[in-house]
């Protein structure tokens, strides 16, 4: 029980920090809006099977992208905690390493929830009509995706010595994950080599579940419950990996 309270404490800190930085909340919404309204409009002529407009089609992908960017960044930001010393306070406390990672991941999951709640109602702008059921499925899925991705960020942070490595992560991890996830184009029309990459990218299944939920039963790559399971396993595996690297002592 006491570990739960520690997780709560760490989660609460993340939420307080997120909430105090209103500019971060706003800026995390600008990117998806640009993609949807500018990029999406620009490619309006692109034909998507199933009679969707391109703007409508990419909406779930842009949700996935927002999660990817904010969650990985939130994980990597633990470098600042290390640089400014706060991490020591946590690392020397009698808290288990998994609790530290879970507290951070849930904190990021909560910010994903807030972002989702703001972004989802905007879907009508691009012609997506979400049913109440879609909402109920989309929000927890976003939290689950976020938990996995924040752990990716944490893992990266544990390998980095300073924020200088962030560009490297951006171009070697985040962008490839984004482009191969099927967020911007249907994978069915992608060449085989690209699809191979997509299938090992966990975000592909995240975007696929989001798309399935947003369009109430669009075709999915794998049966939905398996994709869910993949997301769940991915989150669990990443938390375990982070707990391991956090537990390493110098």
């Amino acid at each position: 029980m006491s570990e739960l309270r520690k997780i709560y404490g760490l989660w609460h800190r993340e939420v307080l920090r997120y909430w105090r930085e209103k500019s971060r909340i706003v800026s995390s919404l600008i990117m998806p809006l640009l993609w949807l309204l500018v990029f999406g409009s620009g490619l309006r002529g692109v034909q998507i099977s199933g009679g969707l407009t391109y703007q409508t089609y990419i909406f779930p992908g842009i949700l996935g992208m927002t999660l990817l960017f904010t969650s990985v960044f939130s994980g990597v930001s633990v470098i600042w905690d290390r640089e400014f010393g706060f991490l020591k306070e946590i690392m020397v406390a009698p808290v288990s390493r998994p609790s530290i990672v879970i507290g951070k991941a849930l904190g990021s999951g909560t910010s994903a929830l807030i972002q989702g709640t703001i972004l989802l109602p905007l879907s009508f702008l691009v012609g997506v009509h979400l049913s109440p059921l879609s909402f109920v499925i989309l929000l927890p899925t976003m939290v689950l995706i976020s938990i996995g991705l924040v752990s990716v960020g944490l893992l990266m942070a544990s390998l980095m010595t300073s924020m200088e490595g962030f560009n490297f992560i951006m171009s070697l991890v985040i962008m490839p994950m984004f482009f191969t996830s099927g967020a911007l184009f249907p994978l069915t029309s992608a060449p085989a080599w690209l699809r191979d990459f997509s299938y090992i990218n966990p975000l592909t299944y995240g975007v696929d579940v989001l798309r399935w939920a947003a369009f109430s039963g669009a075709d999915s790559i794998l049966p939905i419950y398996i994709e869910f399971l993949i997301l769940l396993l991915f989150a669990a595996a990443m938390i375990a990996a982070c707990s391991y690297t956090f537990g390493l002592k110098k």
């Binding site: 006491s2 309270r5 520690k6 709560y8 404490g9 760490l10 609460h12 800190r13 307080l16 920090r17 105090r20 930085e21 930001s77 600042w80 905690d81 640089e83 400014f84 010393g85 706060f86 991490l87 020591k88 306070e89 946590i90 690392m91 020397v92 406390a93 009698p94 808290v95 300073s162 924020m163 002592k249 110098k250």
Partner: protein, 331 residues
């Protein structure tokens, strides 16, 4: 039953590659003691503390803290100690109170009790008024006081203070010494302090260990260490140093007499008693003395005596680098 020893190390060693940061350290610290670890930069003080706090594992050897083994019972060790790190370790986006609340969560202080304790420690360090401002608005001294309050929140049996007053102005330093001194007098707490401010150690510590190159050079009370340096130094300024020095040597007034162009230095056990005699001798042989000064050994002299006067390499974490990190965007 309370173990009598707060800390006991047995051949505690830490190597970083070729570098031996801590070399077979054997140290026993009693409960209720205020103990100082002194040493130049890079002497191994912080490494010792890090091992005792179970953040860093020793390469060999072992230690017990409050009777708990640092390797096998690290969680119990952690619960029983409080730490104020050398570098700041607060979240500056949170308020003082929020930092303390988080600490209470992490150290299993029940919510109701935490409320009471938070009020108590805020009062101790005089920060009640500022408790609900974010840490960003705190000055360096206030941050340090909050960290001290935080370190005490879970009522640790041992409090580690790693360079608690580094970089603070003299007023704030005095204040912190007062808090720490009060704490030591009014509670049963054991305090382990690292510092390279000798005044700080002299004022606060019952015993100090001078550490250099990862080894204990000497360990004793500050008073004994000063006495062991064998007495005071009298400096006599005069134009006729040769004449006076010769006479003083004849009379065997001191074992060590150094004379230079315009002054003579004598090492003596008790300076006050000797000065009238010295003046009398000078007058007898017609030497005019222009000034006399006494220098009592300070802990500083003891420190230099055991660690030498060489200037040390700066530690890797230089202030300049930190300063440059501050300017980074995207925090």
């Amino acid at each position: 039953m309370e173990p009598k020893t707060a800390i006991e190390t047995r051949d505690l060693t830490k190597k970083y590659g070729e570098l031996i940061a801590v070399d077979k350290l054997n140290l026993t610290i009693d409960h209720g003691e205020v103990f100082g670890l002194l040493g130049p930069n890079g002497a191994g003080k912080t490494t010792i503390i890090s091992m005792l706090c179970t953040i860093v594992n020793p390469s060999s050897g072992s230690a017990t803290v409050n009777g708990f083994n640092i390797l096998k019972q690290s969680s119990k060790v952690r619960r029983s100690i409080g730490i104020v790190f050398q570098d700041p370790s607060i979240d500056d986006r949170l308020t003082g109170r929020e930092n303390l609340q988080l600490h209470a969560c992490l150290y299993d202080v029940p919510a109701e009790l935490a409320k009471k304790r938070i009020a108590e420690v805020l009062n101790l360090v005089g920060l009640e008024d500022r408790a609900d401002s974010t840490m960003k608005t705190y000055s360096g001294g206030m941050r340090r006081r909050l960290e001290l309050a935080r370190g005490l929140l879970h009522h640790p049996k041992i409090l580690f203070l790693d360079e608690p007053t580094l970089g603070l102005d003299p007023q704030t330093r005095e204040h912190l010494w007062e808090y720490i001194g009060n704490l030591a007098r009014t509670t049963e707490i054991t305090i382990i302090l690292t510092t390279h401010y000798m005044e700080e150690a002299d004022q606060l510590c019952q015993r100090v260990a001078i550490i250099d190159y990862g080894k204990i050079k000497v360990i004793d009370t500050p008073a004994n260490l000063k006495t062991a340096l064998k007495g005071d130094v009298i400096t006599v300024t005069t134009t006729q140093t040769d004449k006076l020095a010769t006479r003083l040597t004849e009379l065997r007034l001191s074992q060590h007499i150094d004379s230079s162009k315009d002054s003579i230095r004598l090492s003596v056990p008790n300076a006050e008693k000797l000065i009238p005699k010295l003046i009398k001798i000078a007058t007898e042989i017609g030497v005019e003395v222009s000034s006399v000064s006494i220098h009592r050994p300070t802990l500083n002299d003891v420190f230099l005596h055991y660690t030498g006067r060489d200037i040390r390499e700066e530690e890797a974490e230089s202030p300049l680098r930190k300063f440059m990190m501050m300017g980074r965007p995207g925090r």
